[in-house]
């Protein structure tokens, strides 16, 4: 690399360090001249000053050539124009001679420049490292809090699901049990007064009783048919009696007529026939009385017959209707019985359907019980993540502390400087981009998500020692 230096007043810094002998020479010359100045006249002083400056310039050139072996251009003696500049530069240098403590050599200058560059790059890197670590530390805190809240929220949800599920199952069980009791009862038990307890038994008992009633009706109809027949017989008998009564009356009439005739004959006979006419009159009276009797009998008979005919009439209508009705009733009862049987079958089907559903529910319950354990498993895994995350944050924090203690300057250029150091302990933080941890370190063994089957590679699911 070519080092171009000029004696222009603008470059006040002396980038190159000069060797010791040059410094001493300079010093000596200057001291001598300065010491002589007050003792000699002004033109002597001026002349000697100029000589001294010349000597200085030559010496400087020589020194530079000596230290910078690479740059030949710099060693060339300055041209006319440049020498004017040179004198001006030297003047400037002279006026600042006291400030010049150490003018380094070119090599050293280069070295220190390289070192500075390196240090700058290192500084820059450190700052970036501190900045990044700070951000990731904050991210870790936020992530930790998120994980924790996930654990808590799913815990609440899981507990609610579990309780509600349990309540639902209990209610379903109660429903099924009540339905079964209604339909089947406690296996046909009857209460104290003989009423059946279950629907099934109720249907059965109703069936029996209806049939009994129908049979009763038929029996009654049968009986009434018989009664009608009997009545028919009685009716005929009364008619016969009526007939006899007629005969009796006829007889009585004839007897009365005969008695009359006898009386007439007796009168004809005269006195001998008086006894006979008395008898004949008695006979007439007797026949009259039998007339009366037969009248009374007829009267009674009439009433009997009218009563009978009424009964007969009723009976007749009743029995005919009865028989018809009995048969209809029997038919109705039969169809009712059939539909009752149908109902009974429906009941049996419903009972078996309820049992089927109960079994299906049992299977669903098993599945849910297995699945609801997921919260426990996942929250254990998540909790396992929290420790490493905290460890990460602590490590970052300590590294930050150490780094910052090495170089307080690092803090100056950080956007949030010192505040973040204390914020690592605080809870409230704005969230920068969150970088999820790539490797959730788990304390638990690696395990597949909850499954409903049993096959687990690490061993059987159940073991008794």
């Amino acid at each position: 690399m070519s080092v171009s230096f000029s004696f222009s007043p603008s470059s006040m810094r002396l980038p190159v360090s000069m060797p010791r002998w040059w410094r001493w020479a300079m010093g000596g010359l200057l001291a001598t001249w300065l010491w002589a100045v007050p003792f000699v006249s002004w033109w002597v002083a001026l002349g000697s000053g100029l000589c001294a400056m010349l000597t200085l310039t030559v010496l400087t050139f020589y020194a530079r050539q000596h230290s910078n072996k690479d740059d030949i251009g710099a060693v060339l003696p300055p041209s006319e124009d440049e020498s004017q500049d040179v004198f001006e530069q030297v003047d400037a240098l002279m006026s600042h001679s006291k400030d010049i403590e150490h003018i380094p050599q070119v090599e050293e200058v280069l070295e220190s420049m390289a070192q500075d560059n390196q240090r700058r790059r290192l500084d820059d890197l450190m700052r970036r490292w501190v900045d990044v670590a700070q951000r990731y530390s904050e991210a870790a805190l936020v992530l930790r809090r998120e994980i924790y809240s996930v654990i808590k929220q799913t815990e609440q949800a899981a507990n609610t699901i579990a309780s509600s599920f349990e309540a639902v199952i209990n209610k379903a069980t109660i429903q099924a049990r009540q339905a079964m009791e209604l339909l089947e009862g406690t296996q046909g038990a009857t209460s104290d007064d003989g009423t059946p307890q279950s629907l099934k038994d109720f249907i059965q008992v109703s069936d029996e009783r209806l049939n009994k009633m129908a049979d009763e009706v038929v029996r009654v109809a049968d009986l009434s048919v018989n009664m009608v027949r009997e009545l028919d017989g009685v009716q005929t008998r009364t008619q016969a009696i009526d007939g006899f009564l007629l005969d009796v009356e006829k007889l009585a009439d004839q007897t009365s007529l005969l008695a009359l005739n006898a009386d007439i004959e007796a009168a004809r006979v005269g006195e001998h026939g008086r006894g006979f006419s008395v008898v004949a009159q008695e006979v007439r009276r007797l026949s009259q009385r039998s007339h009366e009797f037969s009248d009374r009998i007829r009267q009674h008979l009439k009433e009997v017959r009218s009563g009978l005919s009424r009964t007969y009439g009723n009976m007749r209508t009743l029995s005919a209707a009865d028989m018809e009705h009995a048969l209809t009733i029997k038919e109705d009862v039969l169809s009712l019985t059939q539909s009752l049987e149908g109902k009974n079958r429906e009941v049996a089907e419903t009972v078996s359907r309820i049992n089927e559903i109960s079994k299906e529910i049992a299977q669903d319950v098993r599945n849910v019980v297995i699945s609801l354990q997921f919260h426990d498993i996942t929250s254990q895994k998540l909790s396992g993540m929290l420790e490493p995350m905290d460890e990460l944050r602590r490590t970052l924090y300590h590294l930050m502390q150490e780094t910052v203690s090495l170089d307080k300057n690092l803090l100056k250029n950080l956007p949030k400087n010192e505040r973040w150091l204390s914020r690592l302990q605080e809870e409230t933080l704005p969230a920068p981009e969150i970088e999820p941890s790539k490797e959730p370190a788990r304390k638990e063994s690696t395990q597949e998500p909850p499954r409903l089957r049993e096959a687990i590679d690490n061993g059987p699911a159940v073991e008794l020692f």
């Binding site: 579990a162 254990q380 687990i456």
Partner: protein, 120 residues
């Protein structure tokens, strides 16, 4: 039926175990960790203990060890219930005196069978 104590730090887990065991008529007591379980056992006698392994305050292995030291529970069946199915933990459980081992998530039928078996 029997009185059973279940020990687990997760409420939903305890609920599932209670629910399963209640369905066949067992009485179930619950504790959130080993310490609570021991204090419950001071007052009530149980026929079987089902415990998780990873719990705060007192973990499952320590709890089983302490339990086996009590005279009343020297021969009470203890089942360990956990997500880990590695041999190391199992052997540990066996060493401290556990009766058996069930992996989570458990199948309720399996749990009932094991319970029936160990209760005799």
């Amino acid at each position: 039926m029997a009185t059973i104590l279940t020990v687990d730090d997760t409420a939903s887990m305890r609920q599932m175990i209670s629910f399963t065991l209640n369905s066949v008529g067992h009485e179930v007591l619950q504790a959130a960790d080993g310490r609570e379980a021991l204090s419950i056992l001071q007052n009530k006698k149980v026929d079987l203990v089902i415990t998780d392994v990873n719990m705060p305050n007192m973990d499952g292995i320590t709890f089983v060890k302490s339990l086996r030291e009590l005279i009343d529970y020297k021969f009470t069946p203890i089942l360990m219930l956990t997500t880990e199915s590695q041999d190391a933990k199992r052997q540990q459980g066996k060493t401290v005196g556990a009766t058996g081992w069930i992996v989570k998530p458990f199948n309720p039928e399996q749990l009932l069978n094991v319970v029936k078996k160990v209760l005799g």
